[in-house]
């Protein structure tokens, strides 16, 4: 008996149609886009040889510090490493996870970011540098937290769902989460996709002025966008008055949204970075308005490549959670109860996270001790930084921000076109030369 699968209707598509027929609602899940996409894996570094000389490890320094928010803020954000922790809400994550993120970031000299639920005291206390998000929902937003933040991030969208609002299902709306968000306990949270008091970059400019007036011009203001019409959006973010642009590609994760959103909206991080840097250069603002890139950053190679293409820093979300234990092969029975296995789990939306990261259930949360989580994430970030430095030194750089597009070559025609980097073995950049 020969079994022949249809490429148009493979097993997962058949299962999804059956599920839709049973439930009558779109599929909601966590994590980012799972399908294969052009990515930084399709770029390679050109290490030193005869024409270019590498740096020795150790005393021949390769610096990693970066300053964000130099355009207008009185107190820019100084980071020791060009890797930040992306916005993830208390609510989607448990308190122990948020504390782990904060502690590790503090140890590494970088920042964490609040999410769609406001600032918790645990995060403010554990995180030396904390970026405070202003989202369409405005859950928990208040001027005291605004003033005790180190930077403000106005969220226009995120890579997993550009054009969509936040989502948190009833099982994660505990008494504490409900209190912070002014919602009834246990309901499914519906969130707005547009900000309540401004629409468009002309109004955003006025909103940013208001935030600056309230915080006496002390703090940098970031604008976060999901990667779609990157050229226009980055240009408009600059014109609206941003100090920093945060650009989140379609591989960016979420704790809960419609699968159709995750897989079918937005562009991958690889082409997004290049478009953003081009827009900044067109305005004469590259390095004046800093660019943070996120969406599927997994290792030091991804980070170094993003920097080489012109980013000032990268941000990690999903990868940070994986460092905290997401998809680790422990508590296998609990993965199975969710209908999944370690390595395949994207069930953040259920709140039944087997490793205690994306949950509000105390027994599950207890599985992640903040000290252990902080240690894991610190180790992972340290590894990423060492990898970046290894690559940068090999390219002859004494600072990771000196990496440039000419240090790269592409393995595929798509990657060459998207990153505007020559196809390996040729001088050909499709669309440019």
């Amino acid at each position: 008996m020969t079994l022949r699968e249809s490429a148009t209707f493979p097993a997962d598509v058949l299962a999804e149609i059956h599920r839709a027929a049973d439930q009558g609602i779109y599929d909601v899940r966590g994590f980012g886009a799972k399908r294969k996409l052009p990515s930084f894996d399709d770029l390679l570094f050109l290490g030193a040889s005869m024409s270019r000389y590498p740096l020795e490890g150790y005393r021949e320094k390769c610096a990693t510090n970066v300053t964000l928010g130099t355009r207008y803020a009185k107190k820019p954000v100084e980071l020791d490493i060009p890797i930040t922790i992306a916005g993830m809400s208390f609510g989607s994550l448990g308190a122990n996870a948020k504390e782990s993120l904060g502690r590790a970031a503090t140890l590494m000299g970088t920042s964490t970011t609040t999410g769609d639920g406001g600032m918790t005291s645990e995060e403010r206390e554990s995180s030396k540098t904390l970026v405070y998000q202003v989202l369409p929902s405005r859950y928990g937003l208040n001027p005291d937290d605004l003033r005790r933040a180190d930077a403000i991030e106005v969220v226009v969208g995120q890579g997993a769902k550009p054009g969509g609002g936040g989502m948190l299902l009833g099982q994660k709306i505990t008494e504490r989460v409900a209190g912070m968000r002014d919602l009834p306990e246990g309901i499914d949270q519906r969130s707005a996709c547009r900000h309540p008091d401004w629409t468009g970059p002309d109004d955003l400019e006025i909103k940013i002025q208001e935030l600056r007036e309230i915080t006496d011009y002390q703090l940098p203001i970031y604008i976060k966008i999901g990667a779609t019409r990157v050229t226009y959006d980055v240009t408009l973010a600059v014109k609206s008055g941003a100090d920093v642009v945060v650009l989140d590609g379609m591989q960016g994760g979420t704790a809960a949204t419609q699968d159709v959103f995750i897989e079918h909206v937005g562009i991958p991080t690889l082409p997004a970075v290049r478009l953003a840097v081009d827009a900044l250069e067109e305005l004469g603002m590259h390095r004046e308005v800093q660019l943070i890139v996120s969406g599927g950053i997994r290792n030091g190679a991804d980070a170094a490549k993003a920097l080489a293409l012109g980013a000032d820093a990268v941000s990690i979300g999903s990868a940070a959670l994986v460092a905290l234990g997401c998809n680790r092969d422990v508590y296998i029975e609990d993965y199975e109860k969710l209908g999944t296995l370690p390595g395949y789990c994207h069930h953040c939306h259920t709140g039944a996270c087997p490793v205690g990261v994306a949950t509000q259930t105390p027994e599950l949360e207890a599985r992640l001790r903040p000290e252990q989580g902080a240690q894991w994430l610190r180790n992972y970030l340290t590894t990423m930084v060492l990898e970046m430095q290894t690559l940068a030194r090999a390219c002859g750089k004494s600072h990771v921000l000196n990496l440039e597009p000419e240090d790269l070559t592409a393995l595929t025609i798509e990657a060459a076109a998207m990153a505007r980097v020559p196809l390996a073995g040729t001088t050909w950049i499709p669309g440019s030369s």
Partner: protein, 223 residues
Amino acid sequence: MTTFDLDNDSLRDLNGRLHGDPPAKVKVTNAGGRHSVAVGVDADIEISIDGHVGYYCAGMNKQATIRVNGNAGPGVAENMMSGVVDVSGNASQYAGASAHGGTLIIRGDASSRCGISMKGIDIVVAGDVGHLSAFMAQTGHLVICGNAGDHLGDSLYEAIIFVRGEVGELGADCIEKEMRPEHYARLESLLGAAGLDFDPKEFKRYGSARKLYHFNIDHADAY
């Protein structure tokens, strides 16, 4: 009484002075439609503003009593935490947006999306409100002494809406509810705080039908 004339003094001077240790009474003249006047105040003081203001007047107010002798642009008292904001004229859209507490009084009309995303504020409008007012309103009270535009309370959570005049087409999950003694009492106190002489018995109450609290395919057409 400390006075700021916005035709001569900068907005930064005004707001900077209002933060930190401000005087108990402040007067602002020649508002001229400027934006972000008296934002981020956190003190039990009185501020009186002459002229029309632009966007976000009294944004994120805490404790202060702020009177606008004129009209207010979009987002007046947005995200207010406590205190009172009193607008003698009309308010543009998004009045009281996402505000957590305090009282916003609008003695003229409010435009569209009045009380959008409100999270505990009490808003009293002597005149009409525009469309999509109380959109996704979570908690707090919205009192409308005039008429309400279409889609009132669209996607409503637990905020309570009182309307004295006509209501256009109601928003998704917003329904009329019974007025009980505690509602009359609350309404009386809200009208009293605003110094408005309307009879609570003339008002109807609107609240959430709570059918959108958990997704059910039978309600898919609400989306």
